[in-house]
């Protein structure tokens, strides 16, 4: 579709405006992380910061254990995302492409599993992990995050696989591909955008979880970043500058993860176009 110049400019302006609107709270968080406690909320009109201090970042990053927590978080989160994606794709394909007894029941289960009140499950989950002897180990968290994101992942991927015309796979099979081969060469690349949105979602859900991490991990050396983030609060005060600086640092892995996978968003698309 060709667009005229004024149209393009108009769209661009709307796009920039939307970006400003959505970016503002993040921007505000960022500028706050550069402020001293007295500047956080001050009578001055400070839409643009007049001065900046990196003291908050220094104090946040030199807080003991940051890198341990970071690596714990990465292990648990990436592990859960990967497991959910593998199990999700495996389940989504037969759901969308095959007909078998119990398919409807499984579909229903996946749907209903998403209604589960995960926060209220913390006592039963705790007991489950305790009986399994997994308390205070990273796999217990990995399992919880895997479980909480799995139904969603299956469901989303099922939708995406369904959206890819079966004719394409058929055509490949006529060209001599095995069923698995046809799936790998045709459907999987087209599934790119779907995998990206689902994995970003799972990543962020697991990355932000606090309660289970706090309760399951007794040893400090096994805590994750959200728990670390809340350690800026003591009985009598909260180091808000530190919290904001830490939050900025904390959002970076999620952003990096997105930037890595977002290329897939485009390449998956073009790959689909070429094959299609």
């Amino acid at each position: 579709m060709k667009k005229s110049m004024p149209q393009r400019i108009g769209l661009g302006v709307i796009g920039v405006f939307a970006a400003l609107l959505f970016g503002f709270p993040t921007y505000w968080l960022f500028t706050t992380s550069l402020k001293t406690p007295g500047q956080v909320l001050s009578p001055e009109y400070d839409l643009l910061p007049s001065s900046a201090t990196f003291a908050n970042f220094t104090s946040a990053l030199t807080k003991p254990g940051f890198f341990t927590f970071l690596s714990n978080s990465l292990i648990v989160t990436l592990g859960a995302v990967l497991c959910a994606l593998v199990a999700g794709v495996l389940a989504a394909v037969p759901l969308a492409r095959m007909r078998f007894r119990g398919r409807k029941g499984f579909l229903l289960l996946v749907l209903v599993a998403q209604l589960a009140p995960v926060e209220a499950l913390f006592i039963p989950m705790y007991l489950l992990m305790r009986d399994a002897g997994l308390l205070n180990t990273l796999p217990s968290l990995l399992l919880v995050y895997f479980a909480t994101t799995l139904p969603f992942t299956v469901w989303m991927l099922y939708g995406f696989v369904n959206g890819i015309p079966y004719d394409l796979e058929e055509a490949a099979m006529i060209d001599g591909c095995s069923r698995a081969g046809a799936f790998r060469r045709v459907t999987l690349p087209l599934l790119g955008p779907g995998l990206v949105t689902t994995s970003v979602f799972s990543f962020i859900t697991a990355w932000n979880e606090f309660l289970f991490a706090l309760v399951f991990m007794r040893d400090q050396s096994k805590q994750t970043l959200p728990v670390w983030l809340s350690s800026f609060r003591t009985a009598f005060s909260v180091d808000w500058g530190g919290v904001m600086a830490a939050s900025v640092v904390y959002a970076i892995p999620a952003l990096v993860f997105f930037l890595i996978v977002q290329r897939k968003l485009v390449s998956g698309m073009t790959a689909g176009a070429v094959k299609g």
């Binding site: 007295g38 956080v40 009985a235 005060s237």
Partner: protein
């Protein structure tokens, strides 16, 4: 029925039948104690973040380990966020920590749940005669002692000495009248600056309200046998609330009426240099100094004035107790640890760190710092919130005192309406 469905239904039936047993929270404490070797050589101690300084705990743990051959202290710092859930699960397991710090307003809840060891027999070993009265009550339940006072802090009026001097105030206010008078003088001197506020006082600062209510001879609730009855509609409580409003109006504070002292952080505002006073703990000045390092030298403190000249108003004691969980496997060792900590040596170190010590009346360690000295003197008149096991619901949940303050200060409700609504709400939470 389809085979898989049959299977699922069977599994569900079994689950339902056993849900109860499996869902039980843990093993019988006796069994847990016998199955694990007694005294496995580790004493697990959980203190809260921002409590005793590391210099103290390092020395304490070392001395304890030296005195107990083969015992290792596993010292861990816990956070306030989610502490209730963390403690709940930790106490239920067979491997509960041996010594835990619990906030004083939370202690009655744990003490009343039969999950803590009865320390009544050890009170004398733990310097019981010198326990801080305001904390002591929170660790007691039905005549038994479960919590040992650890430390406390209380609020005072923190002020700018230089501004007071410029406004011609020579001695810190020692009565409400003098306090209001000081506010008038400060406003006369600095009022031309639109951002100036003589006193920073946020609308929902209910700890300050407690002082004013107690000073009027009122209280927020009264013990009635085993239960509690809210008394926010009593004349004393109403008078305290009225004085709060008087302060807010006289001081021209720009603090939000719909938020508390933590949002925005009052010490940050004070650090901005446009406020002459705020009500806070000495520790908050350090936060202010992050904005303006020179402010520490310009800061002084006086006790929250009473309506009776020459006295100071009662203050709320915020702090912690130490408890031993019933599920701890090393009760004797844990008691030894408490004994060491409650001794004069470490209590004086606590005082030097700026806390009112829990098991020692010797507060001379606080005298070195003028702000702490004022706090220590005022702490003698320290009081606690009602020792209801359900008080935690008030503080962690929807605090009726905060709603009452906002409604009255903004004029949304009259004094009578605000107090009677809050009274009903408080009764619903802790009454009966």
């Amino acid at each position: 029925m389809k085979p898989w469905l049959k299977l699922a239904a069977g599994a569900a039936a079994i689950t339902l039948a056993t849900a109860g047993c499996a869902g039980s929270g843990g093993t019988d404490p006796g069994a847990a104690a016998s199955s694990a070797p007694k005294g496995d050589g580790t004493l697990t101690v959980w203190l809260m973040t921002g409590s005793a300084p590391t210099t103290l705990t390092d020395a304490l743990n070392k001395e304890f380990e030296d005195a107990h051959q083969g015992v290792k202290v596993k010292y861990e710092i816990q956070q306030w966020n989610g502490i209730q859930q963390k403690l709940t699960t930790a106490l239920s397991g067979g491997d509960a920590p041996d010594v835990i710090e619990v906030g004083n307003t939370q202690t009655p809840f744990f003490a009343s749940s039969s999950v803590l060891s009865d320390l009544s027999g050890s009170v004398n070993d733990l310097n019981g005669a010198q326990w801080l009265a305001g904390l002591k009550a929170s660790g007691e339940f039905e005549g038994k002692t479960y919590g040992v006072p650890f430390y406390a802090a209380n609020r005072e009026v923190i002020y700018r000495k230089d501004m007071f001097e410029q406004a011609g105030i020579t001695t810190p206010p020692a009565s409400r009248a003098e306090w209001l008078d000081a506010i008038t003088k400060l406003k006369a001197k600095f009022g031309s600056d639109p951002d100036f506020q003589a006193l920073y006082l946020p609308g929902q600062y209910w700890y300050s309200l407690l002082s004013f209510i107690w000073d009027e001879g009122g209280d927020i609730a009264k013990a009635d046998g085993k239960s509690f009855k809210a008394t926010l509609d009593s004349p004393g409580a109403k008078a305290g609330l009225e004085f709060y409003k008087q302060l807010v109006e006289a001081s021209g504070t720009k603090a939000p009426k719909d938020n508390d002292e933590a949002n925005p952080q009052q010490a940050g505002i004070y650090g901005g240099g446009k406020a002459a006073m705020f009500i806070g703990t000495p520790g908050e000045v350090a936060t202010a100094a992050k904005t303006d390092p020179s402010i520490t030298a310009k800061t002084g403190a006086f006790a929250i004035p009473s309506k009776t000249a020459g006295q100071s108003a009662p203050v709320f004691l915020g702090g912690s107790n130490l408890v031993i969980p019933l599920n701890s496997k090393d009760q004797a060792l844990a008691k030894d640890y408490l004994k060491l900590l409650s001794g004069a040596k470490y209590q004086s170190q606590l005082a030097k760190a700026g806390y009112v010590p829990g098991t020692s009346t010797d507060v001379s360690g606080l005298d070195a710092d003028p702000l702490s000295k004022v706090m220590a003197a005022a702490s003698k008149n320290g009081r606690a919130v009602p020792t209801s096991p359900r008080w935690g619901d008030v503080e962690s949940g929807q605090n009726p005192l905060k709603d009452m303050l906002t409604a009255y200060l903004t004029g949304k409700k009259t004094l009578d309406q605000a107090t009677s609504d809050a009274n009903a709400a408080l009764d619903k939470l802790i009454g009966g």
